[in-house]
Amino acid sequence: MFVTRFNNRLRTGIIIMILLMIINLVNILFNSPLVPIQQWAQKIFYYHVPCAWVAFLSFFIVLIAGIMFLKTKNYKYDRLGLAAAELGTFFTVLVLITGPIWASAIWGKAWTWEPRLTTTFVLFLIYSGYFMLREFGGAPERVARYAAILGIIAFIDVPIIFISVRFWSPEVQSHPQVEMALQPTGIMTTFFFSLFTFTMLYFLMLWIRTGILSLKVKNQ
Protein backbone atom coordinates (compact mmCIF):
# COMPACT_ATOMS: atom_id res chain seq x y z
CA MET A 1 0.00 0.00 0.00
CA PHE A 2 1.04 3.58 -0.48
CA VAL A 3 1.28 5.37 2.84
CA THR A 4 4.05 3.35 4.39
CA ARG A 5 3.54 4.65 7.89
CA PHE A 6 -0.16 3.80 7.84
CA ASN A 7 0.40 0.62 5.90
CA ASN A 8 -0.97 -1.90 8.36
CA ARG A 9 -3.74 0.22 9.78
CA LEU A 10 -4.87 1.15 6.29
CA ARG A 11 -4.93 -2.44 5.11
CA THR A 12 -6.94 -3.48 8.16
CA GLY A 13 -9.30 -0.60 7.65
CA ILE A 14 -9.97 -1.45 4.04
CA ILE A 15 -10.49 -5.15 4.77
CA ILE A 16 -12.93 -4.38 7.58
CA MET A 17 -14.70 -1.95 5.30
CA ILE A 18 -15.09 -4.52 2.53
CA LEU A 19 -16.47 -7.00 5.05
CA LEU A 20 -18.90 -4.42 6.40
CA MET A 21 -20.08 -3.56 2.89
CA ILE A 22 -20.68 -7.24 2.10
CA ILE A 23 -22.59 -7.78 5.34
CA ASN A 24 -24.57 -4.66 4.57
CA LEU A 25 -25.46 -5.93 1.10
CA VAL A 26 -26.50 -9.34 2.44
CA ASN A 27 -28.56 -7.60 5.09
CA ILE A 28 -30.29 -5.46 2.50
CA LEU A 29 -30.92 -8.30 0.06
CA PHE A 30 -32.08 -11.04 2.41
CA ASN A 31 -32.53 -9.65 5.85
CA SER A 32 -35.08 -6.91 5.37
CA PRO A 33 -38.73 -7.23 4.50
CA LEU A 34 -40.12 -6.02 1.17
CA VAL A 35 -42.26 -2.97 1.59
CA PRO A 36 -45.77 -3.58 0.18
CA ILE A 37 -46.06 -1.09 -2.67
CA GLN A 38 -42.49 -0.06 -3.37
CA GLN A 39 -40.99 -3.53 -3.06
CA TRP A 40 -37.42 -3.67 -4.34
CA ALA A 41 -37.26 0.01 -5.19
CA GLN A 42 -37.58 0.81 -1.50
CA LYS A 43 -34.23 -0.88 -0.95
CA ILE A 44 -32.59 1.91 -2.89
CA PHE A 45 -33.04 3.90 0.30
CA TYR A 46 -30.52 1.75 2.10
CA TYR A 47 -27.94 3.37 -0.14
CA HIS A 48 -29.57 6.67 -0.97
CA VAL A 49 -30.25 7.92 2.56
CA PRO A 50 -26.83 7.01 4.04
CA CYS A 51 -25.18 8.76 1.08
CA ALA A 52 -27.22 11.88 1.80
CA TRP A 53 -26.45 11.69 5.50
CA VAL A 54 -22.74 11.28 4.85
CA ALA A 55 -22.76 14.17 2.36
CA PHE A 56 -24.32 16.53 4.88
CA LEU A 57 -21.99 15.29 7.60
CA SER A 58 -19.15 16.04 5.24
CA PHE A 59 -20.31 19.59 4.58
CA PHE A 60 -20.67 20.02 8.31
CA ILE A 61 -17.04 18.99 8.66
CA VAL A 62 -16.15 21.57 5.99
CA LEU A 63 -17.86 24.17 8.18
CA ILE A 64 -15.96 23.10 11.30
CA ALA A 65 -12.67 22.91 9.42
CA GLY A 66 -13.33 26.38 7.99
CA ILE A 67 -13.94 27.89 11.41
CA MET A 68 -10.89 26.15 12.85
CA PHE A 69 -8.73 27.28 9.95
CA LEU A 70 -9.74 30.91 10.30
CA LYS A 71 -9.04 30.70 14.02
CA THR A 72 -5.71 28.89 13.98
CA LYS A 73 -4.38 29.41 10.42
CA ASN A 74 -3.19 25.82 10.60
CA TYR A 75 -3.12 24.25 7.14
CA LYS A 76 -4.08 20.92 8.65
CA TYR A 77 -7.64 22.26 8.76
CA ASP A 78 -7.43 23.54 5.22
CA ARG A 79 -6.58 20.05 4.01
CA LEU A 80 -9.35 18.58 6.13
CA GLY A 81 -11.79 21.09 4.61
CA LEU A 82 -10.71 20.27 1.07
CA ALA A 83 -10.94 16.53 1.68
CA ALA A 84 -14.36 16.86 3.27
CA ALA A 85 -15.59 19.11 0.47
CA GLU A 86 -14.45 16.61 -2.14
CA LEU A 87 -16.06 13.69 -0.36
CA GLY A 88 -19.21 15.67 0.30
CA THR A 89 -19.52 16.45 -3.38
CA PHE A 90 -18.78 12.84 -4.24
CA PHE A 91 -21.65 11.60 -2.08
CA THR A 92 -23.87 14.44 -3.23
CA VAL A 93 -23.46 13.23 -6.79
CA LEU A 94 -24.40 9.73 -5.64
CA VAL A 95 -27.49 11.15 -3.94
CA LEU A 96 -28.41 13.06 -7.07
CA ILE A 97 -28.09 9.88 -9.15
CA THR A 98 -29.80 7.43 -6.80
CA GLY A 99 -32.65 9.83 -5.96
CA PRO A 100 -34.01 10.04 -9.51
CA ILE A 101 -33.62 6.26 -9.96
CA TRP A 102 -35.98 5.72 -7.06
CA ALA A 103 -38.26 8.54 -8.18
CA SER A 104 -38.57 7.24 -11.73
CA ALA A 105 -39.72 3.89 -10.32
CA ILE A 106 -42.17 5.23 -7.77
CA TRP A 107 -43.28 8.63 -9.01
CA GLY A 108 -42.92 7.81 -12.66
CA LYS A 109 -40.74 10.84 -13.27
CA ALA A 110 -37.08 11.23 -12.53
CA TRP A 111 -36.94 14.73 -11.16
CA THR A 112 -39.28 16.88 -9.15
CA TRP A 113 -38.31 19.94 -7.22
CA GLU A 114 -38.63 18.07 -4.01
CA PRO A 115 -37.09 20.12 -1.16
CA ARG A 116 -34.40 17.66 -0.15
CA LEU A 117 -33.40 16.91 -3.70
CA THR A 118 -33.38 20.60 -4.61
CA THR A 119 -31.34 21.58 -1.58
CA THR A 120 -28.86 18.84 -2.41
CA PHE A 121 -28.70 20.07 -5.98
CA VAL A 122 -28.07 23.68 -4.92
CA LEU A 123 -25.37 22.46 -2.54
CA PHE A 124 -23.78 20.59 -5.41
CA LEU A 125 -23.75 23.80 -7.45
CA ILE A 126 -22.25 25.80 -4.57
CA TYR A 127 -19.51 23.23 -4.17
CA SER A 128 -18.78 23.25 -7.90
CA GLY A 129 -18.10 26.94 -7.38
CA TYR A 130 -16.01 26.05 -4.33
CA PHE A 131 -13.69 23.90 -6.42
CA MET A 132 -13.47 26.57 -9.11
CA LEU A 133 -12.49 29.07 -6.43
CA ARG A 134 -9.83 26.65 -5.20
CA GLU A 135 -8.58 26.25 -8.75
CA PHE A 136 -8.55 29.87 -9.86
CA GLY A 137 -8.26 31.76 -6.58
CA GLY A 138 -4.52 32.39 -6.85
CA ALA A 139 -1.99 31.81 -4.09
CA PRO A 140 -2.87 28.79 -1.91
CA GLU A 141 -2.51 30.82 1.29
CA ARG A 142 -5.32 33.10 0.17
CA VAL A 143 -7.40 30.35 -1.39
CA ALA A 144 -7.33 28.45 1.90
CA ARG A 145 -8.96 31.41 3.62
CA TYR A 146 -11.48 31.96 0.84
CA ALA A 147 -12.42 28.29 0.77
CA ALA A 148 -12.90 28.29 4.53
CA ILE A 149 -15.27 31.25 4.27
CA LEU A 150 -17.19 29.77 1.36
CA GLY A 151 -17.55 26.49 3.26
CA ILE A 152 -19.05 28.37 6.18
CA ILE A 153 -21.37 30.46 4.02
CA ALA A 154 -22.54 27.39 2.10
CA PHE A 155 -23.51 25.69 5.32
CA ILE A 156 -25.29 28.76 6.64
CA ASP A 157 -27.25 28.86 3.39
CA VAL A 158 -28.47 25.25 3.63
CA PRO A 159 -31.34 25.75 6.09
CA ILE A 160 -32.47 28.90 4.28
CA ILE A 161 -32.47 27.10 0.95
CA PHE A 162 -34.32 24.17 2.46
CA ILE A 163 -37.04 26.34 3.99
CA SER A 164 -37.51 28.37 0.85
CA VAL A 165 -37.73 25.34 -1.44
CA ARG A 166 -40.06 23.58 0.94
CA PHE A 167 -42.59 26.37 0.89
CA TRP A 168 -42.00 27.02 -2.76
CA SER A 169 -43.31 23.58 -3.81
CA PRO A 170 -45.55 22.50 -0.94
CA GLU A 171 -47.41 19.92 -3.02
CA VAL A 172 -44.41 17.58 -3.18
CA GLN A 173 -44.19 15.93 0.21
CA SER A 174 -42.99 12.36 -0.25
CA HIS A 175 -39.84 12.20 1.84
CA PRO A 176 -37.89 9.00 2.19
CA GLN A 177 -37.42 9.44 5.92
CA VAL A 178 -41.06 10.15 6.64
CA GLU A 179 -42.15 7.01 4.84
CA MET A 180 -39.45 5.00 6.49
CA ALA A 181 -41.06 5.45 9.89
CA LEU A 182 -44.39 4.11 8.63
CA GLN A 183 -42.94 0.87 7.35
CA PRO A 184 -42.65 -2.53 9.02
CA THR A 185 -40.23 -2.69 11.95
CA GLY A 186 -37.71 -5.05 10.35
CA ILE A 187 -36.54 -2.23 8.14
CA MET A 188 -34.95 -0.11 10.83
CA THR A 189 -32.16 -2.50 11.89
CA THR A 190 -30.97 -2.89 8.33
CA PHE A 191 -31.28 0.81 7.73
CA PHE A 192 -29.23 1.77 10.78
CA PHE A 193 -26.63 -0.81 9.95
CA SER A 194 -26.29 0.71 6.50
CA LEU A 195 -26.06 4.17 8.02
CA PHE A 196 -23.31 2.93 10.31
CA THR A 197 -21.44 1.25 7.46
CA PHE A 198 -21.50 4.38 5.32
CA THR A 199 -20.38 6.57 8.20
CA MET A 200 -17.44 4.27 8.80
CA LEU A 201 -16.72 4.21 5.07
CA TYR A 202 -16.81 7.98 5.03
CA PHE A 203 -14.31 8.37 7.85
CA LEU A 204 -12.00 5.84 6.22
CA MET A 205 -12.16 7.80 2.98
CA LEU A 206 -11.62 11.11 4.81
CA TRP A 207 -8.59 9.65 6.55
CA ILE A 208 -7.09 8.41 3.28
CA ARG A 209 -7.73 11.70 1.48
CA THR A 210 -6.25 13.92 4.20
CA GLY A 211 -3.32 11.52 4.41
CA ILE A 212 -2.64 11.94 0.71
CA LEU A 213 -3.04 15.70 0.88
CA SER A 214 -0.54 16.03 3.72
CA LEU A 215 1.82 13.67 1.90
CA LYS A 216 1.65 16.04 -1.06
CA VAL A 217 2.70 18.95 1.15
CA LYS A 218 5.61 16.96 2.60
CA ASN A 219 6.86 16.11 -0.87
CA GLN A 220 6.91 19.73 -1.99
Binding site: L70, L125, I126, L133, R145, I153, I160, I161, I163
Partner: protein, 220 residues
Protein backbone atom coordinates in the same frame (compact mmCIF):
# COMPACT_ATOMS: atom_id res chain seq x y z
CA UNK B 1 -15.96 56.28 9.68
CA UNK B 2 -18.64 54.27 7.94
CA UNK B 3 -19.99 57.47 6.42
CA UNK B 4 -16.53 58.45 5.17
CA UNK B 5 -16.14 55.07 3.49
CA UNK B 6 -19.61 55.32 2.01
CA UNK B 7 -18.92 58.84 0.79
CA UNK B 8 -15.77 57.58 -0.88
CA UNK B 9 -17.65 54.79 -2.70
CA UNK B 10 -20.38 57.17 -3.80
CA UNK B 11 -17.96 59.86 -4.95
CA UNK B 12 -15.94 57.41 -7.01
CA UNK B 13 -19.10 56.12 -8.63
CA UNK B 14 -20.43 59.62 -9.17
CA UNK B 15 -17.26 60.56 -11.04
CA UNK B 16 -16.97 57.47 -13.19
CA UNK B 17 -20.64 56.42 -13.39
CA UNK B 18 -19.38 53.01 -14.41
CA UNK B 19 -21.60 50.84 -12.25
CA UNK B 20 -24.90 52.64 -12.68
CA UNK B 21 -24.43 53.37 -16.38
CA UNK B 22 -23.59 49.77 -17.20
CA UNK B 23 -26.46 48.45 -15.11
CA UNK B 24 -28.92 50.87 -16.64
CA UNK B 25 -28.10 50.31 -20.30
CA UNK B 26 -27.87 46.58 -19.79
CA UNK B 27 -31.27 46.57 -18.12
CA UNK B 28 -32.87 48.46 -20.99
CA UNK B 29 -31.29 46.09 -23.50
CA UNK B 30 -32.67 43.12 -21.58
CA UNK B 31 -36.17 44.62 -21.63
CA UNK B 32 -35.91 45.01 -25.39
CA UNK B 33 -34.82 41.39 -25.77
CA UNK B 34 -37.65 40.23 -23.52
CA UNK B 35 -40.20 42.04 -25.64
CA UNK B 36 -38.78 40.57 -28.85
CA UNK B 37 -38.33 37.02 -27.67
CA UNK B 38 -41.47 36.51 -25.61
CA UNK B 39 -44.17 37.13 -28.11
CA UNK B 40 -47.27 36.22 -26.14
CA UNK B 41 -50.37 37.93 -24.95
CA UNK B 42 -49.97 40.54 -22.18
CA UNK B 43 -52.23 38.53 -19.88
CA UNK B 44 -49.99 35.52 -20.13
CA UNK B 45 -46.86 37.60 -19.85
CA UNK B 46 -48.08 39.14 -16.63
CA UNK B 47 -47.79 35.72 -15.04
CA UNK B 48 -44.13 35.44 -16.03
CA UNK B 49 -43.27 39.05 -15.27
CA UNK B 50 -42.11 38.68 -11.63
CA UNK B 51 -39.71 35.90 -12.54
CA UNK B 52 -38.35 37.73 -15.56
CA UNK B 53 -38.00 40.91 -13.56
CA UNK B 54 -35.81 39.23 -10.96
CA UNK B 55 -33.76 37.43 -13.59
CA UNK B 56 -33.06 40.83 -15.06
CA UNK B 57 -32.22 42.34 -11.67
CA UNK B 58 -29.88 39.48 -10.83
CA UNK B 59 -27.99 39.91 -14.11
CA UNK B 60 -27.79 43.65 -13.58
CA UNK B 61 -26.52 43.08 -10.06
CA UNK B 62 -23.80 40.73 -11.31
CA UNK B 63 -22.74 43.35 -13.82
CA UNK B 64 -22.51 45.96 -11.08
CA UNK B 65 -20.70 43.60 -8.71
CA UNK B 66 -17.99 43.06 -11.29
CA UNK B 67 -17.28 46.76 -11.24
CA UNK B 68 -17.54 47.06 -7.48
CA UNK B 69 -13.83 46.72 -6.81
CA UNK B 70 -12.55 47.61 -10.26
CA UNK B 71 -11.30 51.10 -9.39
CA UNK B 72 -9.70 49.79 -6.23
CA UNK B 73 -7.86 47.08 -8.13
CA UNK B 74 -6.40 49.29 -10.83
CA UNK B 75 -4.09 51.38 -8.63
CA UNK B 76 -3.97 48.92 -5.71
CA UNK B 77 -6.19 51.31 -3.77
CA UNK B 78 -7.76 48.40 -1.96
CA UNK B 79 -4.47 47.80 -0.14
CA UNK B 80 -4.43 51.44 0.87
CA UNK B 81 -7.93 51.20 2.28
CA UNK B 82 -7.47 47.95 4.18
CA UNK B 83 -4.18 49.06 5.68
CA UNK B 84 -5.92 52.11 7.12
CA UNK B 85 -6.85 51.79 10.80
CA UNK B 86 -10.43 51.06 9.86
CA UNK B 87 -12.48 48.09 10.94
CA UNK B 88 -12.71 45.92 7.85
CA UNK B 89 -16.32 45.02 8.47
CA UNK B 90 -17.17 48.67 7.88
CA UNK B 91 -15.57 48.50 4.44
CA UNK B 92 -17.99 45.69 3.67
CA UNK B 93 -20.96 47.62 5.04
CA UNK B 94 -20.05 50.64 2.90
CA UNK B 95 -19.78 48.44 -0.18
CA UNK B 96 -23.09 46.81 0.64
CA UNK B 97 -24.97 50.05 1.15
CA UNK B 98 -23.47 51.70 -1.92
CA UNK B 99 -24.20 48.58 -3.97
CA UNK B 100 -27.84 48.66 -2.87
CA UNK B 101 -28.01 52.34 -3.75
CA UNK B 102 -26.58 51.84 -7.26
CA UNK B 103 -28.86 48.90 -7.93
CA UNK B 104 -31.86 50.85 -6.71
CA UNK B 105 -31.00 53.85 -8.87
CA UNK B 106 -30.72 51.60 -11.90
CA UNK B 107 -34.03 49.92 -11.03
CA UNK B 108 -35.83 53.21 -10.64
CA UNK B 109 -35.07 53.87 -14.27
CA UNK B 110 -35.68 50.31 -15.44
CA UNK B 111 -38.76 49.19 -13.55
CA UNK B 112 -41.17 51.62 -15.19
CA UNK B 113 -40.08 50.76 -18.75
CA UNK B 114 -40.30 47.09 -17.78
CA UNK B 115 -43.88 47.46 -16.56
CA UNK B 116 -44.97 49.73 -19.42
CA UNK B 117 -43.11 48.44 -22.50
CA UNK B 118 -43.99 44.87 -21.68
CA UNK B 119 -47.58 45.91 -20.95
CA UNK B 120 -47.55 44.45 -17.48
CA UNK B 121 -49.19 47.50 -15.97
CA UNK B 122 -48.54 48.99 -12.56
CA UNK B 123 -49.99 46.85 -9.76
CA UNK B 124 -52.33 48.48 -7.29
CA UNK B 125 -50.10 47.76 -4.30
CA UNK B 126 -47.16 49.54 -5.87
CA UNK B 127 -45.91 50.89 -2.54
CA UNK B 128 -45.53 47.35 -1.22
CA UNK B 129 -43.88 46.37 -4.49
CA UNK B 130 -41.25 49.05 -3.91
CA UNK B 131 -40.60 47.70 -0.42
CA UNK B 132 -40.17 44.18 -1.79
CA UNK B 133 -37.81 45.35 -4.50
CA UNK B 134 -35.74 47.22 -1.93
CA UNK B 135 -35.59 44.17 0.34
CA UNK B 136 -34.63 42.04 -2.62
CA UNK B 137 -31.81 44.42 -3.50
CA UNK B 138 -30.54 44.46 0.06
CA UNK B 139 -30.39 40.66 0.17
CA UNK B 140 -28.82 40.23 -3.25
CA UNK B 141 -26.18 42.84 -2.53
CA UNK B 142 -25.37 41.43 0.92
CA UNK B 143 -24.27 38.11 -0.47
CA UNK B 144 -23.15 39.78 -3.71
CA UNK B 145 -20.64 42.09 -2.00
CA UNK B 146 -19.32 39.15 -0.03
CA UNK B 147 -18.88 36.93 -3.09
CA UNK B 148 -17.52 39.84 -5.11
CA UNK B 149 -14.85 40.25 -2.45
CA UNK B 150 -14.03 36.53 -2.73
CA UNK B 151 -13.82 36.59 -6.51
CA UNK B 152 -12.08 39.96 -6.74
CA UNK B 153 -8.48 38.80 -6.65
CA UNK B 154 -9.09 35.51 -8.47
CA UNK B 155 -8.34 34.75 -12.06
CA UNK B 156 -11.49 34.47 -14.19
CA UNK B 157 -13.45 36.50 -11.66
CA UNK B 158 -16.08 37.25 -14.35
CA UNK B 159 -16.97 33.55 -14.43
CA UNK B 160 -16.42 32.83 -10.79
CA UNK B 161 -18.72 35.56 -9.52
CA UNK B 162 -21.99 34.31 -11.06
CA UNK B 163 -21.07 30.67 -10.48
CA UNK B 164 -20.66 31.33 -6.77
CA UNK B 165 -23.44 33.86 -6.49
CA UNK B 166 -26.39 32.18 -8.21
CA UNK B 167 -26.72 29.07 -6.05
CA UNK B 168 -26.04 31.01 -2.86
CA UNK B 169 -28.65 33.62 -3.68
CA UNK B 170 -31.29 31.10 -4.77
CA UNK B 171 -33.45 31.26 -1.61
CA UNK B 172 -33.56 35.03 -1.90
CA UNK B 173 -34.68 34.78 -5.53
CA UNK B 174 -37.39 32.27 -4.65
CA UNK B 175 -38.65 34.54 -1.87
CA UNK B 176 -38.62 37.75 -3.89
CA UNK B 177 -40.28 36.18 -6.91
CA UNK B 178 -43.00 34.66 -4.74
CA UNK B 179 -43.58 37.92 -2.93
CA UNK B 180 -43.64 39.91 -6.16
CA UNK B 181 -46.13 37.49 -7.69
CA UNK B 182 -48.33 37.81 -4.64
CA UNK B 183 -48.30 41.59 -4.94
CA UNK B 184 -49.06 41.46 -8.66
CA UNK B 185 -52.04 39.26 -7.87
CA UNK B 186 -53.08 41.64 -5.12
CA UNK B 187 -52.99 39.02 -2.38
CA UNK B 188 -53.14 40.08 1.30
CA UNK B 189 -49.94 40.32 3.30
CA UNK B 190 -50.78 37.32 5.49
CA UNK B 191 -50.53 34.94 2.53
CA UNK B 192 -46.96 35.91 1.75
CA UNK B 193 -45.70 36.98 5.15
CA UNK B 194 -43.38 33.96 5.08
CA UNK B 195 -41.50 35.25 2.05
CA UNK B 196 -41.10 38.63 3.64
CA UNK B 197 -39.62 37.02 6.76
CA UNK B 198 -37.33 34.92 4.64
CA UNK B 199 -36.02 37.97 2.76
CA UNK B 200 -35.33 39.82 6.00
CA UNK B 201 -33.59 36.79 7.49
CA UNK B 202 -31.47 36.34 4.40
CA UNK B 203 -30.36 39.97 4.39
CA UNK B 204 -29.55 39.90 8.11
CA UNK B 205 -27.69 36.59 8.00
CA UNK B 206 -25.49 37.45 5.06
CA UNK B 207 -25.03 41.05 6.11
CA UNK B 208 -23.68 39.75 9.41
CA UNK B 209 -21.60 37.06 7.69
CA UNK B 210 -20.05 39.65 5.40
CA UNK B 211 -19.35 41.98 8.30
CA UNK B 212 -17.62 39.21 10.23
CA UNK B 213 -15.74 37.52 7.40
CA UNK B 214 -14.64 40.50 5.37
CA UNK B 215 -11.50 40.76 7.46
CA UNK B 216 -10.37 37.39 6.13
CA UNK B 217 -11.39 38.21 2.57
CA UNK B 218 -9.56 41.50 2.25
CA UNK B 219 -6.01 40.37 2.87
CA UNK B 220 -4.03 38.92 0.03
Amino acid sequence: MFLRLLKKDLLVEFRSREVSASMLTFGLAVIMIFSFSINISPDLFRRFAPGLYWIMVLFIAVLGLHRMFSHEKEFDTFSMIISAPVERGLIFLAKWVSGVLFLTVAEILITLPFLLFLQVGIPEQWVILIVIILLGNIGIMAIGSLVSGLAMRAKMSEVLLPILLFPLVSPQIIATVQATTAVFDGKPLASWQLWLNLMITFALVFGLAGYLFFEHITEE
